[in-house]
Symmetry: C2
Subunit: 121 residues, 2 copies
DNA sequence: TCACTGTATTACTATATAGTGATATAACAC
DNA sequence: GTGTTATATCACTATATAGTAATACAGTGA
């Protein structure tokens, strides 16, 4: 028996509140520094200090970005002694980033091909 | 025969340039106003004027946001007489927004359940 | 030509936030 | 207790950008 379709989530205009919430989540992913941190966390759990070291960024800066990512539900944190361990809390993060990267790759290949058609200077 | 796996896109740290590009694309989606415009465009092509009317925003404001969305490759524009028609150029936009909305819905349901466990004031 | 319309652009203000150095806090070792 | 370490927070500056009013521009019709 064919699986019954879920009731289509009505395509109504989203409320301003919902738009804000979605925008806030995208905003969390809209800074190179935060993407760099997420990129590192995709390799596994890191402490804040390890991230500071690996990313080559200021400690206060990293701490603020991590707090923002946590508030957006992207990462989780657990304290262990003096250290705070950070980890990706939402598998969607990986999906979103990979989707965007895939898209970027396609665009760049298209541009590369276009360049190839242009007589070299 | 099981489909041969594509060569895994090596999980190397992304270059600063790539991080910038990905961040820029997420940034295009990180404003409620732009999401509102995209939301309208998901219903079909609109002119700039129609979007101004439907969204209840200033004309200059809408024009700027649309330009930004076009530069990010999210929408396309075609001129027809005096009007400029806008349309979603990248199906990824729908996917991304739906993914984020789905996530948001799950979070809100979780919170709703948590609230239900709290004695009413 | 002139007037009108739809859109883009300019110039500006107000706000948000990335980055930084200094300081506060908290858990450990002694 | 003191000192040290890892992290968070504060205060600040610099930059980016959302929104707006005025203006420029381009296509249309007279």
């Amino acid at each position: 028996m064919p699986k019954k379709k879920d009731p289509e989530p009505a395509k109504l205009p989203m409320s301003d509140k919902a738009l804000e919430l979605v925008a806030m989540r995208f905003r969390a992913l809209s800074e190179p520094t935060r993407l760099k941190l997420l990129n590192l966390l995709m390799l596994g759990e890191h402490t804040v200090g390890q991230l500071v070291e690996a990313a080559g960024l200021g400690q206060a800066n990293v701490s603020k970005h991590l707090g923002l990512l946590r508030d957006a539900g992207m990462i989780g944190m657990r304290k262990e002694g003096l250290s705070t361990w950070c980890y990706i809390a939402d598998p969607m993060v990986n999906e979103l980033c990979e989707m965007m990267c895939r898209r970027l790759r396609i665009e760049m290949e298209t541009q590369a091909r276009a360049l190839a058609l242009v007589p070299q200077i």
